[in-house]
């Protein structure tokens, strides 16, 4: 029996030597600064814990980075595929599509003012009009993976109440408020819908853009542009994809900057002075390179200024004019952001972010 005890001790020793735990890693607390930025990390499908907000704060010359900025500010997680992440300078609206949740938070501190869940199904993007926010909502998912009852929600930002909901076209994605009109991209069609805010119950004007509309930008001359791509079920002609300018009376397409390689989600962002748009696309398959294409909205020229792998978001910092690029290397690991000069020269590359980074908000 002595032998057994000897082996027992040996076995326990081996187990002890090799036993080491998976260490928990704590995100730094979020400390709002004089300047900085926030980056939304959409997260992975079916894993609400992967949705987060990276907060970068600059106080004097000290920079702090929190990978759990929202959680730090609210002691709870965002949960569930962040789609829209936009701010009017006072509040930030976070649309968590998979958890059917619209969060209205203080733009500086990210402290949650209101949470809207009732009758919210797959919220997408937000447009601001003073104290009102308009949020697109795909509706309830059906057994065949289509979505029913799409809506535009009208939200009072002071009370967090949904004051009105409007029926709209299928899969409303990007949304823009401008000049008393509400522009909505129905991404299960080729249609841009234009609503008159003074009478939201009236039928919208429909503009067929001959590609799948995704997101809007407003240029330096107050022209409305919409990015347009194609999807698996809605292929579009190559020449129709890219950035599309709407006519000044918002009834038709007035110009196009064709870009065959535009990503299917049509990611677009406007430059700090409104003269250029940054669009994410890719070289033709099977190339795996993604690229940031700069489109001059005046002369309609375009050029690739940054190439790399896994670009999913881009924005220009209005203070420094640097270009910030969000990078998603895969759907299993945390992503990065890189900072480039206005001309595309790398300044800081592959800084840590969360899973699936997409949208920047600069303080």
């Amino acid at each position: 029996m002595k032998q057994f005890y000897k082996f027992s001790i040996l076995f326990a020793l081996v187990a002890f030597v090799f036993t080491s735990c998976v260490d928990d890693k704590d995100a730094a607390p979020y400390v709002p600064g004089q300047s900085g930025f926030q980056l939304s990390n959409a997260g992975a499908f079916g894993k609400p814990n992967t949705s987060s907000i990276t907060g970068v704060s600059i106080v004097d010359e000290d920079t702090t980075v929190s990978q759990g900025a929202f959680e730090s500010a609210n002691n709870e997680k965002v949960l569930g595929l962040i789609e829209g992440f936009s701010s009017n300078g006072t509040v930030t609206v976070i649309n968590a599509a998979a958890s059917d949740r619209i969060i209205i938070a203080n733009a500086q501190t990210l402290k949650m003012n209101f949470e809207i869940k009732e009758n919210v199904h797959n919220p997408r993007y937000t447009a601001f009009d003073g104290n009102t926010a308009y949020v697109t909502m795909w509706g309830e998912q059906q057994p065949d993976y289509s979505y029913a009852n799409p809506k535009i929600l009208v939200i009072n930002l002071s009370t967090g109440e949904v004051t009105k909901s409007i029926d709209c076209g299928l899969s409303p994605e990007g949304i823009l408020f401008h000049n008393g009109k509400l522009f909505v991209a129905s991404s299960a069609s080729f249609n841009v819908e234009v609503y008159d805010v003074s009478d939201l119950d009236a039928e919208p004007t429909i503009i067929n853009v001959n590609a799948v509309p995704q997101h809007f930008v407003l240029d330096y001359a107050n022209n409305v542009w919409v990015s347009a791509s194609e999807t698996w079920s809605l292929p579009a002609e190559a020449a129709n994809k890219g950035l599309i300018k709407l006519s000044s009376d918002y009834t038709e397409v007035s110009a196009r900057i064709s870009y065959e390689g535009i990503g299917s989600d049509g990611f677009v962002n406007i430059s700090e002075n409104g003269t250029k748009a940054f669009v994410i696309g890719a070289e033709s398959w099977p190339s795996t390179k993604t690229e940031i294409v700069e489109m001059n909205l005046a002369d309609k020229s375009s050029s690739t200024i940054i190439t790399g792998e896994g670009f999913t978001g881009v924005a220009q910092n209005p203070a420094t004019k640097d270009i910030y690029v969000a990078i998603t290397p895969d759907f299993e690991n945390a992503g990065y952001y890189s900072i480039y000069s206005e001309t595309g020269t790398p300044k800081f590359e592959n800084q840590e972010a969360g899973v699936g980074p997409f949208h920047f908000i600069f303080n």
């Binding site: 032998q3 057994f4 082996f7 027992s8 076995f11 326990a12 081996v14 187990a15 090799f18 036993t19 080491s20 735990c21 998976v22 928990d24 890693k25 704590d26 995100a27 997260g43 992975a44 079916g46 894993k47 609400p48 814990n49 992967t50 987060s52 990978q67 759990g68 949960l79 569930g80 998979a98 958890s99 059917d100 199904h121 309830e140 998912q141 057994p143 065949d144 993976y145 698996w232 390689g261 990503g263 299917s264 696309g281 890719a282 398959w285 099977p286 795996t288 993604t290 792998e309 896994g310 999913t312 998603t328 290397p329 895969d330 759907f331 299993e332 690991n333 945390a334 969360g354 899973v355």
Partner: protein
């Protein structure tokens, strides 16, 4: 507190008494029917193989392969919720695509997804199951990177016809009805198994998001399957067999915890699988020839999306004894695949062909070596040349002590799945096979006294994988070789029993521990959902016709995609008590099982709460 005390007492009693090991090198290949060519296990003698025979399977034969391996093997099973939900395997830190599930020479992994859902394979169908740890691509081809699971039938020619009827009923409306028979004569021998299993899985759990107790919704399933084999011996030295296996699973997909009360997020899955293998073996004067042709049809319907494939596999192998000490095996296989997937280009097909050779040389009764090589060609590219070598040495062999030293080294590969290669309508021409190698060194020690028997098996391993494939965002989303990984660790198991004694009380105590340090080499982070530490222990008591069994598993923390969120460790006890009753020629075995004895609230996979304490009553008749 109570759970903690039970855990500690159990753990220390196991250590002090020592424990079980079924991780010993099996000798079943030496007992095979004389006509049968030796299996690839014969050429893998240096690897770590854990075997479950019919006796060991009896207690777990109302569940799936996922349940068996979760409770008894040094692997990690990722369960996406209740029994019947998606369950995948991770061996030595590898991904589910990197374990080959082999039945009659067919790798059951889906050609489209590369995985096998372990919850759809019920152990009731099989007589023996082997778990071969470490790379065995040279033996079993693509995907055998972390290891291989070998599902086997044990046809007994010279025994009486036997029949088995089993039924079980338990919590959450768990139901099981199964019938199995082996019958025939000297010329013909048949095996048939048919089963139906279902559960509502409407258990209660605490929803962390809603901060309340909720009833689990949309997690029910049912499984129907039939397996039939007919073996015919036209002559004394030849055998023809036809093996058929059909299964159908209808499942609600358990929603993530936050969507439990949101019917718009409920989903379902239906899959049917049919496998047929026609085999001919003939034992010539010099060579044993073994030829087979197989047809496999995998069909999965998720909503309106169909993911299906058909394949025909031809396999031929010939084996000869070069001398009293040397055995040579030569063979080749061709696998032609027709996928039917909405996201592939029309008329997509793929052919995979392999040539392989294996040789084993037994220098003497103590020292044995083997080598295997394989080369695979796939439509459009060539897979890595795959060699492997095995060595065993019987260092001590006397009446009381027996120590075998084992070692193996082998290259491994996984060719891209059809989804990884053809998703999006165009061929992904950049993607390469995953490549890697594995080194094992271990020992198996047995000490026998008059009344006690002690066995200890320890294997250290190092597994390196490059060009690992992940899905990345793109236009369209595509698969890409982006990651390098390595894992090292120890698989250890010990067992102490008195089965050789004359005592009426027979007992066995087992303890196994698996340490897996698996790193994403580009990030220095433990691979997601791979526990570093796993303890799996058991105690079994048999007295007269009664038996009691208690299993315990303790799984350590696991990392997730979120670098700042780890899944908590958990510890689960399962218990069973039963009695065997004899009526003339019919034996009845009644078992009462309590799963999750301490009502542990835990998640095996992120966001999917597991059932709390639950019960099952099982009756098994053999005649």
């Amino acid at each position: 507190m109570t759970k903690g005390i039970i855990s500690i007492v159990f753990l220390f009693s196991s250590i002090s008494l020592f424990a079980q090991d079924e991780f010993q090198l099996p000798d079943r290949e030496l007992k095979e029917v004389e006509i049968t060519a030796k299996t690839m296990k014969y050429y893998s003698q240096g690897t770590h193989i854990q075997s479950f025979d019919s006796t060991q399977l009896a207690l777990a034969n109302d569940g799936s392969l996922a349940n068996l391996l979760r409770d008894k093997a040094g692997v990690h099973i990722r369960e996406y919720g209740a029994a019947g939900q998606l369950s995948t395997i991770s061996m030595r830190g590898s991904s589910p695509e990197n374990t080959a599930i082999v039945w009659h020479g067919i790798n059951l992994n889906s050609m489209t997804t590369g995985q096998t859902d372990m919850s759809t394979i019920n152990t009731f169908y099989f007589d023996d199951i082997d778990v071969q740890y470490g790379s065995s691509s040279a033996q079993y081809g693509s995907g055998a990177v972390g290891g291989a699971i070998l599902l086997q039938d044990n046809i007994k020619w010279n025994q009486k016809n036997s029949f088995e009827l089993q039924t079980a009923y338990g919590s959450f409306n768990q139901q099981f009805y199964g019938f199995k028979a082996q019958y025939g004569n000297d010329k013909w021998r048949h095996k048939s198994a048919i089963l139906y299993q279902s559960a509502d899985n409407d258990y209660t759990f605490y929803n962390d998001y809603a901060k309340e107790e909720q009833t689990q919704n949309n997690a029910g399933f049912n499984h129907f399957g039939v397996l039939h084999e007919s073996h015919f011996r036209p002559t004394a030295n030849s055998e023809i067999s036809l093996n058929l296996w059909y299964t159908k699973d209808e499942r609600e997909i358990q929603p993530i915890m936050g969507d439990n009360l949101n019917p718009s997020r409920y989903d379902s899955l239906s899959n049917e699988n049919f496998r047929a293998v026609l085999n001919y073996k003939i034992d010539g004067t010099k060579w044993t020839h073994n030829a087979s042709v197989a047809y496999v049809n995998d069909y999965l319907l998720n909503g309106e999306s169909k993911i299906a494939s058909e394949r025909i596999i031809g396999d031929y192998r010939a084996e000869t004894s070069l001398s009293d000490k040397a055995t040579l095996l030569l063979g080749g296989t061709v696998n032609h695949i027709w996928p039917d997937v909405y996201a592939y280009a029309a008329n997509t097909t793929e052919t995979r062909s392999s040539l392989f050779a294996a040789i084993r040389y037994d220098f003497n009764d103590r020292l044995s070596a083997s080598a295997t090589i394989r080369q695979t060609w796939v439509t459009g590219y060539v897979a890595p040349f795959t060699p492997s070598a095995n060595l065993t040495y019987l260092a001590i062999d006397n009446q009381k002590n027996k120590l075998t030293i084992k070692s193996s080294v082998g290259r491994s590969y996984r060719v891209p799945t059809l989804n990884e290669r053809y998703w999006g309508g165009e061929t992904n021409s950049n993607i390469q096979p995953e490549d890697g190698y594995n080194v094992d060194l271990g020992g198996d020690y047995t000490l026998t006294s008059n009344s006690l028997r002690f066995n200890l098996n320890v294997t250290g391993f190092y597994l390196r994988t490059s060009n690992k494939i992940l899905w990345v965002p793109g236009n369209p989303t595509y698969a890409k070789n982006v990651k390098n990984a390595r894992s090292f660790g120890v698989e250890s198991a010990a067992k102490l029993d008195n089965y050789h004694s004359n005592h009426r009380l027979k007992w066995a105590v087992g303890l196994s521990y698996t340490f897996t340090d698996a790193q994403n080499m580009d990030k220095e982070k433990q691979l997601i959902y791979v526990p570093k530490n796993q303890f799996k222990n058991y105690v079994t008591l048999n007295y007269h016709k009664w038996f009691i069994n208690v299993d315990h598993q303790a799984i350590g923390k696991r990392t997730t995609s979120n670098d700042y969120y780890n899944l908590d460790a958990f510890s689960v006890f399962n218990a069973a008590v039963g009695k065997s009753i004899q009526f003339n020629k019919t034996a009845l075995r009644i078992t009462f099982k309590v799963n999750n004895l301490t009502d542990e609230a835990y998640q095996n996979y992120e966001e999917y709460p597991m059932p709390g304490r639950n019960y099952m009553m099982k009756a098994n008749f053999t005649f």
